[in-house]
């Protein structure tokens, strides 16, 4: 189990770093709720707007 953790840790950190460095320069951290029309934490629209 310990070996599994070491592997997941190394792959996970490599993925986070490469994703961060390959992504556009980030501004403020956001949630999908910050976007106009979002009606849920995942950014789903309101039923009345669909």
């Amino acid at each position: 189990m310990r070996l599994a953790y070491v592997i997941v840790f190394l792959i996970g950190m490599a993925a986070i770093l490469s994703d961060h460095l390959a992504s556009p320069s980030i501004g403020r951290a956001v949630s999908p709720q910050d976007f106009a029309g979002a009606c849920a934490p995942c950014g789903a629209p309101c039923p009345s707007k669909k």
Binding site: M1, F9, R28, A38
Partner: protein
Amino acid sequence: MTTVTAPAFEPVAARRDWLFVAAAVLATALMVALVLIDDQPASAALLVLGFGLGAAFLKAEFSFTASWRRFLVRGEAGGLLAILLLIAITAVFVVPVAASWPHYGGSIAPIGASLIIGSFVFGIGMQLANACGSGTLYTVGGGSGRMLLALAFFIIGSVLGSISLPTFLNLGGLDPVLASDYFGPWGGLAVTLVSIGIAALGVFAVARGRGGGTVPRRGFLIGAFVIAALMVGVFFAGGHPWSVTFGYTVWGAKLASLAGFDLSRFEFWQWAGPKHALSDSLLGDTASLTNLGMIFGAMAAAAFSAPFARGPWPPVRSLLAAALGGLLMGWGARLGFGCNIGAFVGGVASGSLHGWIWFIAALGGCTIGIKLRPWFGLAVE
């Protein structure tokens, strides 16, 4: 012939697993440095608050899943009452601030079939996996290989849920119902606290009627206060109540994209928020920041007190339950707009009706999940 016997009491320092303590602290420090380079102190705060949440959840053994199960099986209400206290403390800050200050908002969600079906399925999954969204994070961080598997399937289920969600939303529903929209910031808070009080009285009455206890254990109660304080911190740093499962969805979507799947053709990933999250850095997503901090906080706390991840793998049937539970939670969380944290705690603490509906439907799902546990060799209690 000589016999070597292990000392009866091993010094605490000897049991510390410095490799994993250092790995957790350094990983968090590295991510904090990366967001500070981009001049994002709020992101750094979310990572650090997540780290604190991971340590607090692990040390208090703060489990929504076990608390709900004890209530349903034995009428034992101490844990559930402590959870309601946590929500009440959080609501004191979230309801008035979200209703009054720009750039702050509560956790809201539409009310309809998607919410009910999703939270019910989530309830089944959380009893099979033996953890919910936050529980998965801190047990993964705490060294449970079984929960590593649950997390992997949670992520898969969450991506599948993102593809399913628009279809279920088309079944219809109501726009979010928020107490502060009807009663103002302070009236909304009063209504929210009264609703929590009524729920607590109901839980108390059921426990008394079934002969169950109503006093949470001391560590759990302290955990409720500490976690509430950290959740308020997450709210002020991120602008919204803490949420967990959207982070899983983004992680899964990024991995799927890496594997060549084009998710952008699905409606969910055309909505502004998910579309932005898929193209931006993980460290630009509030849920991912707290999730990562929480995993490493729990890892540091666990490795500081005992050798890390030294236990054997559980039986295959238990692993199957973890995988199935994770899958159901992931799919259910997307349809139900979150987990215990984002939908129940965040929703109720925001004065949003969907939080209570989520709770009732998930409690129903838990009763099914508890009945299924023996099939996988898991104890009912």
